[in-house]
Symmetry: C2
Subunit: 427 residues, 2 copies
């Protein structure tokens, strides 16, 4: 832990810095994987499963039978938890469907926007010890609400060639259309290029290791869009004298356990809250199972005493955290001062894990300072907004002169003629 008391503003730019990730040059590896998938399709994926996941599978596609079977393998408590989370996420994201409002900018000139789903989207869910079914919900629920026709999910198989039943259950519940057992860069390559069984998609979502991240970047060379740039997860807490140190410590740890590169920042104006939160963090860390990663993340964390809450907010805006917790009595009154953040949690009962799982907001958020220029995933991430315009004869008459003058001044004669020829025809 790095403790800091009333740091000078000149030092902030150092304090808000994220560690530079030593990312190896993976371009060569990624290019080879894309080439291999392009050439050998499903066969390449089956080979990669052997090589990277130590798994023998016969078919890449998960059968309907397996999906149905998975349902019986998930416990009832987890099933109803997943159902409640799905419902809340659906409710919140459904509120993001805009009303179409037609605007008559000038008499006879009507303009509006309409949402259209991105036809085919791909969701990547990493493997590893924990089955990230919550990320299935966060990506498939808005995809389904948006109306995406094909929602493809790729995730690596375990050593038996199986997919965790909770992932299959969540995928089925949220309208994923096809599931494939393939992971890593080769899964991204498959969704980019298409194989015999996996369709090529227009946009790829989801987290992953450095190979997956590099493959998503590489996919953009093939005109595929991606959700957002990647970086380690992070939380910044601003606490006043009413904050509960034990709660704050628990939130800091729930961020720290994501990985040793997780970013944890605690700002407070109250010396006692600072001391107690540090003590509580150490206490809770000691009893946390598998706490090595959290311990390492905490070594790089910042605990900073600030003069005022306004100053803390200014620091936070400069840091641009993925998650911002306002553990403050009158949290709502500071909302208008928030400029850069992914998702904001207000008061002592809004813990980050509520948003991670079940409150309804999305947990796919901008990290690494990208909250300055990117939004988290929402319904918007799964649609294009198309503009429409309808000019009546009167509309063109009202606007014609303006267009002609501007086109002429930009030296675009044919742009001008497209108006003139119509105006002449109506004389």
């Amino acid at each position: 832990m790095r403790l800091n008391t009333y740091p000078q503003k000149e030092t902030w730019s150092e304090l808000v810095k994220r560690p530079v990730l030593k990312r190896e040059k993976l371009t060569e590896t990624i290019t080879e994987i894309f080439d291999e998938v392009s050439k050998n399709g499903d066969r390449a994926l089956i080979e990669f499963n052997k090589k990277f996941d130590n798994a023998e599978v016969e078919t890449i596609k998960v059968s309907q039978k397996e999906v149905v079977e998975a349902e019986s393998l998930v416990g009832d408590a987890l099933k109803s938890a997943i159902q409640q989370a799905r419902e809340n996420i659906a409710r919140f994201h459904a509120s993001q469907v805009p009303q179409t409002e037609k605007i008559e900018t000038v008499k006879g000139v009507v303009c509006w926007r309409e949402n259209r789903a991105i036809g085919k989207v791909g969701i990547y869910i990493p493997g590893g010890t924990a089955p990230l079914f919550s990320t299935v919900l966060m990506l498939a629920v808005p995809a389904q609400l948006a109306g995406c026709k094909e929602i493809v999910l790729c995730t690596p198989p375990d050593k038996e060639g199986k997919i965790n039943p909770a992932i299959l259950y969540a995928a089925k519940l949220c309208g994923v259309t096809e599931i494939f057992r393939t992971g890593g860069a080769q899964a991204i390559a498959a969704m980019t290029l298409g194989t015999e069984s996996i369709p090529a998609v227009y946009k790829i979502f989801g987290p992953g290791n450095q190979y997956v991240v590099a493959a998503k970047e590489f996919a953009q060379n093939y005109k595929v869009a991606i959700d957002m740039p990647a970086g380690p997860s992070e939380v910044l807490i601003i606490a006043d004298g009413e904050a509960v140190p034990a709660f704050c410590a628990a939130d800091l740890l729930s961020q720290a356990e994501h990985g040793s590169d997780s970013q944890v920042v605690f700002l407070t104006t109250d010396e006692k809250v600072l001391e107690e939160t540090v003590r509580e963090t150490e206490k809770q860390l000691a009893v946390l199972p598998r706490n090595e990663m959290a311990a390492e993340a905490l070594r790089n964390s910042h605990f900073i005493l600030m003069k005022t809450l306004e100053e803390a907010l200014e620091f936070s805006n400069q840091y641009a955290p993925e998650h911002l917790i306002l553990a403050m009595e009158n949290a709502e009154q500071y909302i208008s001062g928030i400029e850069n953040a992914g998702s904001v949690f207000l008061g002592n009962y809004s813990c980050e894990s509520a948003g991670d799982y079940a409150s309804g907001t999305n947990h796919t958020l901008p990290t690494n300072g990208f909250a300055k220029n990117y939004s988290g995933v929402s319904l918007d991430s799964f649609v294009k907004k198309i503009t429409f315009q309808n000019l009546s004869e009167e509309g063109l008459k009202n606007l014609g002169k303006t267009i002609e003058v501007m086109a002429e001044a930009e030296g675009l004669s044919a742009h001008r003629s497209a108006v003139s020829i119509r105006l002449k025809a109506t004389e």
Copy 2:
């Protein structure tokens, strides 16, 4: 012109293909320019002005005095045209400001989103023979409406070191905060890295040549966002028997005059309309001043006879045009079938140049098939949407079990504890 009658669906994937752009490997050049700007700041920009634009300038920043003087150099007709366009663009984009709607997903759990402006944005306006003041309007108006604090504009100077007065006038009218005379990749480098006079921005917008495009891509390595991937401009027209061939031809030419790589596609179900549109296009081309580029673009254009309007729409969705004109009697009834397009123009009086300049919609749109997965520029492009949540004690009690079960199943103990510790405290 390439004429085609009732092409088989199997051949469509060839017909919708964009020419692969031979883009030279510019990485080395771009890296050098970024290095130079990083090392020498404004001085580097002044040198680049000499080298690339043949212009001697003393200061990069355009003075307030020059901006004020520009106003008197723009004719009254152009001024009022620019004003009307600005007003319409502002009216349409203002309608994109969302109402904040708080959603209670579960009793005691309230979630919502709020827009926050991207603090600093950069607008690039290319040089050349025509002053693209319309692009200034399209980018600065939504930036100002969004509330971006710093709106920086870079554009190359002419040989006398001057900026076209129409650009300066439009920039002032739309709240651009600072204007700099620098162009090309070095302007993008300057807005990415910052110099003594040019602030580093969080997102860069605007068109440009292959160096500018490559520099924008490169800027993303420095955590800067960009508006969208680039490609040549394009139009697809679907015409029925009620279309006016002379109008269609004028629209095709207004697309073709953008450059020799412009894409022009004409689909109709009416043989006579096809023939006459071809004839009209040739006739109008002949009298178009500086028509070499348009002529070249037309050589690669497609004129296709389709069996039905539905089939034409299906082709269009596969092509995903930047601009889609429905030159049809009942255009509105085909709207729901449109899946992929940047901006749509309905009926015989909605010419593309209306949207290019003055109807109110944005003209910065996805090209090159990117209408499948990207939207055009809108107010959204200048904001982040931050999610908020406020859980009361009751809210956490209603949601607690769900979060605990899910966190446990994902193996994230601290996520679970953050809930448990709060629930225990309220017992």
